[in-house]
Symmetry: C2
Subunit: 318 residues, 2 copies
Amino acid sequence: MSFDARAALEARARTAPAEDAATAASRRAAASTWFRDLRDRMCAAFEAIEDDYAGPMNTGMAAGRFTRSTWDRPGGGGGEMSVMRGRVFEKVGVNISVVHGSFSPDFAKAIPGADRAPAEGGAAEGGADGAGAQFWAAGISLVAHMWSPHVPAAHMNTRHIRTTLGWFGGGGDLNPITPHAPDTERFHGAFKAACDAHDPAYYPRFKAWCDDYFDLPHRGEKRGVGGIFYDYLDSGDWTRDFAFTRDVGTTFLTVFPAIIRHHMNRPWTEAEREYQLIRRGRYAEFNLLYDRGTQFGLKTGGHTEAILMSMPPAAKWP
Amino acid sequence: MSFDARAALEARARTAPAEDAATAASRRAAASTWFRDLRDRMCAAFEAIEDDYAGPMNTGMAAGRFTRSTWDRPGGGGGEMSVMRGRVFEKVGVNISVVHGSFSPDFAKAIPGADRAPAEGGAAEGGADGAGAQFWAAGISLVAHMWSPHVPAAHMNTRHIRTTLGWFGGGGDLNPITPHAPDTERFHGAFKAACDAHDPAYYPRFKAWCDDYFDLPHRGEKRGVGGIFYDYLDSGDWTRDFAFTRDVGTTFLTVFPAIIRHHMNRPWTEAEREYQLIRRGRYAEFNLLYDRGTQFGLKTGGHTEAILMSMPPAAKWP
């Protein structure tokens, strides 16, 4: 990336006034509430798709419904997984989490603002014990794998992370089995519009970041047709950054269901399904070999089931 | 590991006399020839199993036959892949390779003996240009994924690597869908006998190394029921170490086909097959998240198709 978002975050933080404790608390509450609300809206939109399915495949299957389970993080906080196995969605997971605690000293070095004490008057995130580097993080993560090879798989994630700094990150990306130009344009167009409403620099930067990120160098391929990816977002205006992050979520909530509905009732062939399962192998390769969140989560004692919710329900390496 | 094989290799090499060029050439030739012969014997044994199958499943399928393809390594050497998709073997790959060339300076630091010039009178491996750290490596790698959930998957690999030092490595491990104690005992018993014939210290050391290696910490599980794993083997007697490495190959060639034949004709249920596909997901997780050879190969421009030959033909994360 030519624009170094992490360096910009750290530079801005050196001059920014510290939040007072009440502001910090209200921001944590607003972000967590939003991720939960967005989760509820996503699940409702996907269950409605299950109800409305009228295609010729999977005719013996009932419309899917999400089931929920919760997990606790040993160091503080936890999460809620919502998973649906339906007749349109082969497997879709929508996870939310709110976690807090201390980083190990080694680990803290990798996280902006986690390697120093809170500023004078600043809020100490992650609890009152004051031990180690404190953090608080909340987010939503969604991965949808579809029965139909005509319907793209998709991924959306947004998060708010707070150490002695605070920032937003996330994005959405589309993973068609066979790229379909109108879908690609629709998906990118929706995210471009959402970005442009906030800052005309966002879309080109975040699209390029997404292309850089979802790369399978050993295959000489990208994963999917991209979308946007952003991290370390702190413009200096928390309210504005939070609004942008909300718009990323609602954009995905609008555009992905529309793409699903456009294709879902079309039948597919056995050969198309086989090819889908092979493309799913690439998705699995990316997640296990390269995805930062997966590697980070599994190697730092994260909740394995929630992290690997992203894995395809079935994949082939024939 | 309480026994540090790599340190022992490096310590021994400081006092060992250098090989003359004729000895080095004959050792390279002997090792490469062996790996090719073993490949031929493995493929013949597995094709015979395909012929002899008499179970009630996959009745419409013909006995499988291996197909071969070759690849060239841009920096020197190449390999030959043999893959069979049959009625007993859902997918089995037997790869051999002989590669040579130079390591990048960064990479050379990770490889014993690659970070210094050849000893006075010593053979420079990997070509005559003298540029960079030179290496030569040959090996065989075998992964078998079976249709029947009653027949374990298995993996065997042996290799000879030469820098300014030279050593052998490899092993064999069994990956049953549901562990079956007599198979486990048979497999371990065969490798224990092969090890004991060379050095009574080998089996306990190499069994423990295998258990350490095939570990999925994020699942709190081991991959499979183990076997043996060894690396950096240089006892000071090349002929003896090569004989041990040949015995590892012939032991696998004896014991694995016997285990296959013991179970292959038994029918299985759909539920057993489903469980097999889920266990295959663990196999995929290990290979992509932890396996040194896979990570090393993919991140250093290895031949992707040969490296990922190990991936299961089908896997599920339901």
